[in-house]
């Protein structure tokens, strides 16, 4: 025994006899390396097991359908989110609150209903802030009380003219929001028509929706054609930009006679001197009509959303974010898509409800260039369409030249995959990857919502594209699936989900979990049937945010359980033919 130990001892002594300066150098190197690893390691933004199982499936499923999937915020057995939980001032903090509608959102904007006392609320000035940007001009801040006055004036004017369905044909603007809120206060139903329509489509849409009034930009609508085409049109209100106000827009073209009453927005506002308080009655506010249209000029689906649909969606969008990430008074919100999309509108309402600063740019639309649209502002939160995100991704990717930039991009991708963001490390300061320059102050953007419209052939964003967008914008990116009859979104990815490679590279990334205002199930179709291996079928959405209670999306979502993750491949069936295969993952 002793001999073996002696031999071992002699061997080790012989080994260590070769210790020289290089050995000391290597040992110091190892110690420094371990020290740097210990110093540099951070926790991931969220626990990876929380990402592995996200939406909750019910334990029982009906034959011919899959289990019902819900957000963890609204587990099975509890009700889905029905509204905003508006509490009157002075109510105890943990009281339930009522559902609320657009009127309560405006009352929150003006400060009549105060912001809840919240550790994360930030310092609110008492009201939300609304600003507009016009092209290359300065940013103008609007006084909330002035806007209240405009709402009151326009609402009273339309009420006096017995308007029941008012078509709003405006780009994103303060007048758009004022008309929308006026509808809720003064009992008429706004019809939100996407801007930039060819005249024939506009007339057709006005006839289909049965509009009896129209609010439009002066000069954007040929009044004689529209008045002849739409027999029920009774009153028209022109909004005029400041530079054109010297012209007289009151004149009515011949042939219309006294049928249509034409007024001008700014003249109405300056003339009215009567009572300017917003009505306080609590009877049910009328519905808001949205148009789901693939592109201007194409036929549109007319969707009637009740006030509850909208407030349920807004409430669900607010609570979908974890508390440290929610919209707060310190945020600057930029809607990069039109207000005629319910997702953008509900997020804007959520921003107003949280007393953020909302910056409205009239060029906002489905395919804008985000860098140009945010030239004058520094948004912290933005919502864009999938086309804008794809464009941003493509232009920034082509601008990456040089292997150093590619290497920096690769390193940041690795950090993202390990679950951490922001990705500023010592190495990135030395060698920063290519970033997209959004906003005047780089790095302010912290959250980007990307909305995918189901059934509209929007460009797919794969999980790698989303990961690249996170690096380019240095912000968290949320990918949402929106549909015609669902207010807000059907499903949204987790804000901390930075995973890549979960879905095939040229197809849509997964869409995460349903919002807490809807529940999703998959119904068997001819080609896709749910089995014990996994759910497959047509996506059916139901809940308080869905117009009519329940709707099918017209696209198939299938689940395939592949290793540890559930995937749902969405096959779009258009009139019996399968088109491209899209992927939709709902992780369980």
């Amino acid at each position: 025994m002793a001999g073996i130990f002696n031999q071992l001892d002699a061997q080790i002594a012989e080994l260590l006899a070769g210790w020289n300066i290089y050995s000391t150098g290597l040992l110091v190197g190892i110690v420094v390396f371990i020290g740097w690893v210990v110093y540099d390691t951070q926790d991931a933004d969220t626990h990876p097991l929380l990402l592995a199982r996200q939406s909750q499936a019910s334990y029982v499923r009906q034959p011919g359908e899959s289990a019902i999937y819900r957000s963890p915020e609204a587990p099975h057995g509890y009700s889905l989110r029905t509204g905003l939980a508006v509490k009157p001032p002075g109510a105890p903090m943990y009281s339930a609150g009522r559902d609320g509608d657009l009127r309560d959102i405006w009352r929150r904007v003006t400060g009549e209903i105060p912001l809840e006392k919240n550790a994360n609320a930030g310092v609110s000035s008492g009201t939300a802030k609304i600003m507009t940007v016009f092209g290359k001009e300065e940013i103008t801040e609007h006084d909330v009380m002035e806007i209240s006055k405009e709402i009151s004036v326009i609402g009273q004017h339309l009420k006096e003219h017995n308007a029941k369905k008012v078509a709003i044909y405006l780009p994103n603007s303060v007048e758009f929001l004022s008309s929308l809120f006026a509808g809720a206060f003064y009992g008429f139903s706004p019809i939100l028509i996407p801007y930039n329509q060819p005249h024939s489509t506009l007339i057709e849409l006005l006839i289909q929706t049965g509009a009896d009034s129209l609010i439009a930009q002066a000069g954007s609508v040929p009044l004689d054609e529209v008045s002849k085409g739409v027999s029920g049109l009774r009153s028209v209100i022109w909004t005029v930009e400041k530079t054109s106000r010297h012209m007289d827009w009151n004149e009515v073209p011949e042939g219309i006679g006294g049928k249509t009453d034409v007024s001008v927005w700014h003249e109405l506002v300056s003339e009215r001197t009567g009572s300017l308080q917003l009505p306080q009655d609590t009877e049910k506010a009328p519905n808001v009509v949205f148009l789901w249209q693939e592109a201007p000029g194409k036929p549109a689906e007319i969707v009637d959303f009740t006030q509850q649909n909208i407030s349920a969606a807004t409430g669900a969008l607010i609570s979908a974010l974890p508390v440290p990430q929610r919209l707060s008074p310190t945020d600057t919100f930029f809607p990069g898509d039109t207000f005629t999309q319910s997702y953008t509108l509900c997020l804007t309402l959520a921003a107003l409800f949280s007393h953020s600063t909302v910056v409205i740019n009239s060029v906002a639309g489905p395919g804008i260039d985000l860098r140009i649209a945010t030239r004058l502002i520094a948004p912290t939160v933005a919502v864009v369409s999938a086309e804008t995100a794809a464009k941003l991704h493509d232009t920034t990717t082509t601008s990456i030249t040089g292997s150093l930039k590619k290497f920096a991009h690769y390193l940041e991708t690795r950090v993202l995959t390990s679950g951490k963001l922001p990705t500023d490390t010592f190495l990135t300061r030395l060698n920063a990857p290519t970033r997209a320059s959004i906003g005047t102050t780089p790095g302010k953007l912290r959250l980007l919502f990307v909305s995918e419209r189901s059934g509209h052939n929007t460009p797919p964003l794969s999980s790698e594209d989303l990961s690249d967008l996170r690096i380019y914008t240095k912000a968290r990116v949320i990918y949402a699936l929106t549909a015609a009859k669902v207010a807000g979104a059907v499903a949204q990815t987790n804000i901390y989900d930075y995973r890549r490679g979960t879905t095939p590279a040229n197809k849509h990334c997964h869409f995460g979990i349903p919002l807490s205002s809807v529940e999703v199930k998959l119904k068997d179709t001819v080609s896709h049937k749910t089995t014990d291996d996994g759910p497959v079928g047509e996506i059916i959405v139901s809940g308080p945010a869905v117009a009519g209670g329940e709707t099918e999306l017209g696209v198939d979502g299938t689940y395939h359980e592949e290793s540890e993750r559930n995937h749902a491949n969405m096959i779009q069936v258009l009139s019996g033919k399968t088109t491209h295969l899209r992927t939709f993952e709902e992780t369980v």
Binding site: N20, R53, V60
Partner: protein
């Protein structure tokens, strides 16, 4: 005479390989964390009494019982309703009368499985009260996995046609 220290010694090689190994561990992409697969959801089924009968916990079957047409999965309460438990008579059967009257006797169960279901028409108000209480407890505690219909009814024929 100054000997130049040679970089290639056994100690150096060991230390170098240790260094390379540590760097490799650091740079290796992490395997994504996974959760074991959840059991697939139970399919809601329309049962007739003969079909419900095997679900009494024997032969590794789950334990089901029916209360007023709704079938509950009481496998979690196997100690009570499973084989050898005090209420084992209820397993795989229509337990409505037994729960209403508070008795576990054999004569509380419908003898003829192919016949019509027990209509409970001769029960009094307080027995219905007891039954409702039991049903509420069951709804809160156990999962509803099916409904019970008599043999030969329209629903039974429709369910058989669907299979």
């Amino acid at each position: 005479m100054l000997h130049r220290a040679s970089p290639v010694t056994p100690v150096n090689l060991i230390l170098l390989s240790l260094f390379v190994f540590l760097v490799y561990l650091r740079l290796k992409p992490a395997k994504p964390q996974t959760l074991p697969r959840a059991p697939p959801p139970t399919v809601f089924r329309t049962f007739t009494p003969p079909e419900l009968f095997p679900y009494n916990g024997q032969n590794d079957m789950p334990v089901y019982l029916a209360v007023r047409g709704r079938v509950f999965d009481v496998t979690a309460g196997r100690n009570f309703y499973g084989p050898g438990g005090p209420y084992a008579n209820f397993a795989g059967r229509d337990a409505s009368r037994g729960l209403a009257c508070g008795s576990f006797d054999e004569d509380m169960l419908t003898k003829d499985l192919d016949g019509p279901l027990d209509t409970l028409s001769d029960l009094g108000e307080e027995q219905f009260e007891a039954l409702r209480g039991w049903e509420e407890r069951f709804s809160e505690k156990y999962l509803i996995v099916g409904k019970l219909v008599p043999v030969g009814s329209e629903e039974a024929k429709a369910a058989a046609a669907r299979k």
